[in-house]
Amino acid sequence: QAKEQFFPLLSYRTGPYAPNGVPWANGKQDYIKMINARDGGVNGVKLTFEECETGYATDRGVECYERLKSKPGVALFDPQATGITFALTEKVVNDKVALITLGYGLSVAQDGQAFKWNFPLMGSYWTGADILIQHLGKKEGGLDKLKGKKITLVYHDSPFGKEPIPLLEERARQLGFELAKIPVTAPGVDQKAAWLQVRQNRPDYVLLWGWGVMNSTALKEAQATGYPRDKMYGVWWAGAEPDVKDVGEGAKGYNALALNTSGTQPKVIQDILKTVHDKGQGTGPKDEVGSVLYTRGVIIQALSVEAVRRAQERFGKGKVMTGEQVRWGLENLALDDKKLAALGLTGVIRPISTSCSDHMGSSWARVQTWDGAKWNVGADWYQADEQIIKPMVKAGADKYLADKKLTRRAPTDCQS
């Protein structure tokens, strides 16, 4: 029997969120193909995958999960949608398989002692929101200068869009800015009323918490109501090519968080082009390789593979890891600059190091700006303010545990 580590890939290639879901899913697939082609797998263990279409719908996502979770050699799941993450969070505990939600999902899941199986790697909505506020503060010349400013949050009316609110409220209380919240009903094609309100309020900044078509529509409405794009700041899910491409010039000056860079320079992307696309094995069109969401897909998959590799280091090289073993791998990721360089990810992301109590591993991000043709990533890295995030995560996790009548993981559990 061949040794195969299986990656179930939940994705959506149809429906309202397909423009964003497709490059993401392609990046994941291509990375797996690349590892097999370049390295012959992980220490001789071949990587396999199967994709399952969720259409961004929770029930279909659950079905995909149920179908794929019992395949031999399942490593972990990346649900690609906040709603599906919620539903799976309840299930992975019993099924003993990890859930990675890089840059999305539950903010409180950062607390690994409460959420053993969830891994919101590299950032949650709380860290994202905090970084944006820090950036605005810096622009104004100090966080205290935000006092009295008006900041409006235009958000996708769903748990995804609502997640940053507690943090922003906390920050508003602290720093004394005025926070207005305008929900946009999913999928977000109709935002006229929202932007009329923005025009009425004339806020100093608009934070855009959108996904899919909501982002480009927001930019178009902003243009139509004359709101300056350079005062708009999006989350990292509102900062990819599909969000701005068809707005073109109209989106010039718009900013968004950057969890990763884009472009074809990174070595990992070059490797993919060389070993996969040039062989005609690419999943999607070649010109999309290296775009923001494609690269994010690559990163997610790279971290997944690294988790497997890490687990093998402990549980036996060249073996197929179980879901539990991969989970350990995720909890003990230690990707320093050197390792990142080996992965070809230098400059794309910052080092990551996870632990039993921190399932995020890194809370750094930059801000990028659209110049009408491409994204330019700013030089400054920001780290979310521990002082604020930590207590909130702890409190949230405690409430979760209390509601569920569960207890924190014992320290010994962290060793296993």
């Binding site: 290639r13 149809t14 429906g15 309202p16 397909a18 423009p19 497709v22 009316d157 919240k181 305008i182 929900p183 946009v184 009903t185 999928p187 977000g188 094609v189 109709d190 006229k192 009323a193 929202a194 009329l196 309100q197 025009r199 009425q200 899919g212 078509v213 480009s216 529509t217 178009k220 243009q223 139509a224 109501t225 004359g226 599909p242 491409k245 068809d246 707005v247 073109g248 109209g250």
Partner: protein, 308 residues
């Protein structure tokens, strides 16, 4: 005051755009008694076709902006005619004289089919339709109000196109013999057949017209929002419009659109903030419902007949 006017104008123009989609529903309902669930999918399909053709045509060496758009429009129109023909051949023809729900269901099947076909032929990314609509706002009455009143030029032109189309179709339905035949078909398929109205031809014609309406709607909405899957959801926004105006009335689609457009924008802007916002969708439906309680057949709909 200025802001109120702005909201009002915004609502009116949004309403006109809803009317455009609503019109597609009305056309088909009027002509065959079918509630065409696939209207949203047709809008998407048409818009996708047009967007992609306007990408592909320059590859043939035609680069003139106007020519490209005109050719893309025509090509997409031809595609929609084809769709109409196929739908009649493969679906409607076999469902003569069936109940409304059956036909509704069939249009649902068509919806899925078109969504799948559209995305596999034309792709599922975001595409662009650029028909040269101005994107930046203009301010008017700046002397009267401080800051002026903002008008979205694109919406304004779109509203004019919509109004023209609607007017044209109203005339067509009002007096012509075909208009009458269409209404007859809607009332009773079998009786219409028995006196020699060729249902097949009528249906192809109507679906073609509805296809063109979908194309115009798709073009305008697409130019506003970009062409991608969510265009189908504008159908849900147009639904209260159709119902409020009356399922069978072309002018109803316009008036309904204006009422709903204004109603939902005003409510969202003036009531929304007090209850947390996001109320415009259900408010539109509740508004329509309020009108229905007074006139159960919609403002301009034909009276619902129940006689014993």
């Amino acid at each position: 005051m200025a802001f109120f006017l702005e909201t009002l104008l915004g609502g009116l123009m949004a309403g006109m755009l809803y009317s455009l989609v609503a019109l597609g529903f009305v056309l088909i309902y009027k002509a065959s008694g079918v509630f065409n669930f696939a209207q949203g999918a047709m809008v998407l399909f048409a818009a996708l076709a047009m967007a992609r053709f306007s990408e592909w045509i320059p590859l043939l060496g035609i680069t003139d902006f106007f020519a490209v758009n005109a050719l893309a429009f025509i090509a997409a129109g031809v595609v929609m005619f084809g769709v109409a023909w196929v739908i009649e051949r493969l679906v409607l023809r076999h469902l003569v004289n069936q109940e409304g729900t059956t036909l509704l269901m069939a249009t649902l099947g068509i919806t899925y089919f078109l969504e799948g076909l559209g995305q596999s032929l034309f792709g599922s990314s975001i595409y662009k339709i650029d028909i040269g609509m101005p994107k930046d706002p203009v301010m008017i009455l700046e002397s009267t109000f401080q800051g002026g009143i903002l008008i979205n030029k694109e919406d304004f032109y779109a509203a004019i196109i919509a109004a023209a189309l609607v007017a044209l179709l109203s005339v067509f339905f009002q007096k012509t013999a075909t208009g009458r035949a269409l209404r007859a078909v809607a009332d009773d398929h079998q009786a219409a057949q028995s006196i020699g109205i060729p249902l097949n031809r009528i249906w192809v014609i109507v679906w073609c017209v509805a296809g063109v309406v979908a194309l115009v709607a798709g073009m305008i909405w697409g130019s506003k929002l970009g062409v991608q899957f969510s265009l189908t959801t504008v159908a849900l926004r147009a639904l209260p419009v159709v119902i409020l105006g009356g399922l069978t009335s072309v002018p109803g689609a316009i008036v309904g659109g204006l009422i709903i457009g204004v109603g939902e924008k005003l409510s969202e802007v003036y009531i929304g903030p007090f209850v947390g916002g996001g109320i415009e969708i259900w408010f539109a439906y509740v508004l329509a419902l309020g009108f229905l309680l007074i006139r159960p057949q919609g403002l301009f709909g034909e009276k619902i007949i129940d006689r014993v």
